[in-house]
Symmetry: C2
Subunit: 706 residues, 2 copies
């Protein structure tokens, strides 16, 4: 059949050529191009499905972890073009992140651990914020496996706004995961360690080393601002606004702070009476709230991937584990103890099953609110015993060394893929609840946690292939896609009916995979991306460190079709989420009034107070004002620069020779730089963006006198 | 005509559908996809010209500066997929660059200026190494405008191997530029400053502030190694090799060091006799040699883009300038001096012409070798007076505030584009030489440099459009492409005949542009990329900081055709070079024996010497050996880890909790990490690459006792 079609096609192309279409006035015809480049008709179809002519926007946006680069990668689907690397844990000068610009320095400062700057992260699992189980396009969270931390990126600006350090973990993996209304961001530990920061010998592993899951409280209204627009709207809504102008652009940490400040202006009674309107019209910024966050203590199994229940399973969370053997034998000549035992990879995968941890986080929240926790390193830890007593923590055996742990869109099932098992295990939440309610426990683990019977909790098991890992979902009810690491394939199957539908080979070694809106209660189907770990021969060689390969697959029909191979030029992504592009609503310029130290043209000045020098500058095509700044060696410089441009995309930069200072000034933004002028000499500063034909002339001198 | 074709096409597609080709078993037909995605036939042709099905390699590789990201970007043409961000001036954890791995720490250490770590760079102009005016695919050089430095990237590994700090400049721009055999890498200053590091008031600008061009000597045989293969080959060539085994894998700095060491083994006579064979078979690494480099002093004009002569103009170099007005008036309220004068952008562009600096670098080299220089900050500076006396430095007026300065492939002309002028000025090297030889000088500048008459030196001037900047060349003789910044266009024109051929609009605001092999003596034509500064509405919005837009243009026929819009996700590239992919020959794994501290499996060990602990580890799927390491707080750790894999792409990573240490271990590589165990506690370390189904189990504990 294929041959026949090709014959026909050939005839038709011949006709096209004769008809004169082929040339199109641009040299080669389509057929000539296809022949010269070795493209089949299937390739041409894939090209048409992924090619974006100039100006065409993408339908979906992917937020991918950047692995050890410590960043988050943003790219478009179906064109598979990378749009941005967002700096998160790693300083990045283009964005001015961590190079002297105060706002970013403060964010990175939050990421210090025990006073030490940690300037990289091993990002794994991004989590888009959700409302009612659907991505809302407002925030994305990302974790650091190596130095347990979670960061928050605001999707209005695509900038990192917060980093929280896990106060008790020394490693994590199953993070970040959002509950269906982003009540919490979950962070599961990985390699057990003492919760405190002391040395504890490995002999005390079972007694002192611990795992757990931290539930970071998220508050969408953590920071409230009454800007001009808000005050105007309040006035229109009939709220007394006299004096509120004074509060403009101040940031209030939480509702109470705002209401109290407004109360002082308009009277507390009026403030409380208009609370709803005040909160409605104030600008809001979400933050994770460490003081309202808690950790559920878990045994020193290595907790792993975590997912949140939804629909019927709302209020629960599920966390895989490996090494329930609690193997710490170590291996290798030179070990200071336990020499010549099995390697971890063998010792940690001896048992046929590990445990899924089943947590009722709603109950845990109650325990937290009731004060049933211990404070460790200033952080609330709910003990296993208290969780067990509250019927809020259970274990279910799952096939050995599992990897994926994915709740189905309807919230009825949890799909676990066994890695060293060829099956996917589909657990039924309903059956789990029946066992829980009936207290039908098969056993207890050494830490007193009830263990449910695996078979009784299972809906079905389906043989998928070698090395099944992670599962994503289709718009078609019951249809799922699972990555097969060892087979280098994606399998399409039905978890309700328990049958395999089709497979597609990928190149090579797929880890996670992501489908369009795949973690929501209503996946879109359409596109699936295989997040492959190796590229080997797929791309031109660029030295011994290769790019990864993200492969776009068309899942709009029952037959999966490979569309595109996309190299990853920086970092090893682990997981990604794909959101409908029209759910995002980023700003294209800043409201200059939202910056405390903004300067209008003509208000530029230099203020000196002892050895403290404050500079108020403006930047506009193509000059800074002022252009000459003379200070004394040792002066403490605070330099506010306002980009007074209104035009979209009209960014300026700011770099000074030899001071390791660089910032990006987007339209309307005021950036503040802080440094000590500790070197004598002549230091040119200049705009590091090609902002106009006279961009080279956008320069000035910082002169530091001895 | 177009309409007619469309009509015909429609009929033909209808036929295709009827014939059953359309479905192809994969859902939508090609026509349906085109309709659904709004693709024209022209779009489909562009898609076919740029789409790479899985496994298809690119024909060209682009090395692009990464702007303020401080990196170099590598991407493929025509697919426009980014293959790698090479870390250069900015630490990058995925590559393990600057996160504790000794080799990279040493490279970054070289980049310190006056003892200060500078962890970013403003990279502008990459230069591929050349032989006989053609890219040889061995090295790429890249500059840092902000903190004047030049870095060398080895294209065997795509890793940065060297950073040199300009000892006297405080700013630069026209760099990096290679002479035709990579004799030198040129680096032109930008914002004038004192050559010393002292404060000098702006009032002394004319007397003390200076510009210049540094000629960095490049030596391809800077580091020589006799590895096993080399010794074997020497033996075969009949060279006495007794005792040479002892020298294996030692690095010799230069030929003399190698010959002397070999002489000690086989006798110095035998060594000298076999010098040619020894140098032929030794492994070689190229380096910039600061001790053999020099700077030509220039007036405090702002030197800019620089190009090297070739063919008839070999031995000469050409450097633009702006602000020959020597305007330093400054501007802006708050200036500490000269308040309320014109802004730099106005004051620096008052005159109708600036100067092209014409340098005979071969003569400068002679002066340097003859010791005719002053040492400033330990660096050789040849004075303007000595250059003038040697007939080696001239000025030619060029239209005001020029930007581009490009020598034609045949070396006969220098094309200068005027930025504030609508013309490109084509200077004739032959005419320049006639004026020089006849000492036909129009005037002298205030520093005594002869000025040639512009008109006498011109071949022609061609009106190209608004804001012409940079020029690249075609395979067709005389044909050039110039970027029009203000017009947002590329113009195809003939610099020999002095006529415009065609134009194509771009989106938006093009800076540089690059054609295939465009800076060589034999450009390939075929592809041109517009390196646009703004993207505005071309891509999905990702906040106020947008990607740049590199647009691929088909120049294989006389009618330029836009093929592809490529967003740049990180950094603002300035310039790029495009090399034929088959000229590159990177390694895919390391020779383990090339690492001094490599460890075979079974040789792992921990050695303690006082508080110095040296660990010899191996990493292979999926375990480290050893897996448990116990040290005391305050111990100084040196940790050698050998990736003993042979499989291509089988990379491992190495990260330790809370020690800010991360490395990438490519197959065959031994990486060395150095840190003080200054924190007590339990610190998991693990492989940060998804190296196998059991990658999570590739872990160990670093235990630090109090």
């Amino acid at each position: 059949m294929v041959k026949k079609y090709s014959q026909l096609t050939k005839t038709i192309w011949m006709t096209l050529i004769i008809l004169g279409l082929a040339g199109m006035g641009h040299g080669q015809s389509l057929q000539e191009v296809m022949k010269a480049r070795g493209l089949s008709e299937k390739d041409l179809l894939a090209a048409a499905k992924t090619y974006n002519p100039t100006g065409k926007k993408d339908e979906y946006i992917v937020f991918s972890s950047g692995g050890q680069s410590g960043q988050v990668i943003v790219y478009g689907v179906p064109s598979m073009r990378i749009l941005k690397y967002i700096a998160v844990f790693t300083p990045e000068p283009w964005q001015g992140y961590g190079y002297g610009e105060s706002e970013s320095m403060e964010v990175l400062e939050q990421g210090k651990i025990n006073g030490r700057e940690i300037n990289w992260g091993d990002t794994h699992h991004p989590a888009l914020s959700e409302m009612e189980g659907d991505y809302d396009g407002e925030y994305v969270f990302i974790n650091d496996k190596a130095n347990p931390r979670v960061a928050l990126i605001d999707l209005k600006t695509f900038e990192t706004k917060q980093i929280v350090v896990n106060p008790i973990f020394k490693s994590e993996h199953g993070s970040s995961v959002a509950t269906p209304n982003t009540e919490y961001i979950m962070e599961a530990a990985q390699y057990p360690a003492p919760f405190t920061n002391e040395y504890v010998p490995l002999e005390k592993y079972n007694e002192i080393y611990r795992g757990g899951v931290t539930y970071w409280k998220f508050d969408r209204n953590a920071i409230l601002t009454l800007n001009r627009r808000a005050v105007k709207r309040l006035k229109k809504a009939g709220v007394p606004t006299k004096g509120l102008k004074d509060l403009e652009d101040q940031e209030f940490q939480g509702e109470d702070a705002l209401l109290s400040a407004v109360g002082e202006k308009v009277g507390s009674e009026a403030a409380m009476k208009n609370k709803a309107a005040l909160l409605k019209y104030a600008e809001k910024e979400g933050r994770l709230i460490p003081g309202k966050s808690f950790t559920v203590e878990m045994p020193p199994y290595m907790q792993d991937i975590t997912d949140a229940g939804k629909g019927p399973s709302f209020g629960w969370s599920f966390t895989n584990s490996i090494n329930t053997e609690r193997y710490i034998g170590g291996f290798g000549k030179g070990n200071t103890k336990f020499q010549d035992r099995l390697a971890n990879e063998a010792g940690m995968s001896e048992k046929d099953t590990d445990y899924m941890h089943v947590v009722n986080w709603k109950e845990a929240e109650k325990l937290f609110k009731a004060g049933k926790y211990n404070k460790i390193n200033g952080h609330a830890v709910i003990s296993m015993a208290d969780m067990v007593a509250a019927n809020a923590l259970f274990l279910i055996p799952e096939p050995k060394s599992p990897h994926g742990n994915d709740v189905t869109p309807d919230g009825k099932y949890i799909v676990v893929a066994g890695k060293l098992d060829t099956h996917a295990s589909v657990f039924s939440f309903e059956k789990i609840m029946q066992l829980v309610k009936a207290k039908d426990f098969a056993a207890k683990d050494p830490y007193g946690i009830p263990i449910l019977d695996m078979k009784k909790a299972l809906h079905t098991q389906v043989q998928l292939g070698l090395g099944p890992l992670h599962t994503q979902f289709d718009s078609v009810k019951g249809v799922a896609y699972t990555s097969l690491y060892v087979d280098s394939m994606v399998v399409r199957w039905n978890y309700e009916e328990g049958k395999v539908l089709s497979k597609i080979p990928i190149n090579y070694n797929i880890g996670h995979l992501v489908s369009a809106e795949g973690d929501t209660i209503q996946p879109d189907g359409k596109y699936l991306i295989a997040l492959n770990k190796l590229a080997i021969d797929r791309f031109n060689q660029v030295g011994p460190l290769h790019p990864q390969n993200h492969q776009l697959i068309d899942i709009s029909s029952s037959q999966m079709q490979l569309l595109y191979d996309m190299p990853l030029p920086l970092g090893e992504p682990h997981y990604a989420q794909m959101i409908k592009a029209d759910k995002l609503n980023p700003i294209v310029r800043f409201d200059k009034k939202s910056f405390k130290h903004y300067v209008r043209s003509g208000q530029e000045r230099i203020e000196r107070n002892g050895n403290k020098v404050t500079i108020y500058s403006t930047a506009i095509r193509s000059h800074y004002s002022p252009e000459i700044i003379e200070v004394k060696k040792g002066d403490e410089i605070t330099w506010h620069i306002t980009n007074t441009e209104r035009a979209q995309d009209q960014v300026h930069g700011f770099g000074i020779d030899n001071y390791n200072v660089h910032g990006s000034l987007e339209p309307g933004e005021t950036a503040t730089f802080h440094f000590i002028a500790d070197q004598e000499g002549v230091f040119p500063y200049y705009c590091t963006e090609f902002c106009s034909a006279l961009h080279l002339e956008m320069t000035g001198y910082l002169l530091v006198k001895p």
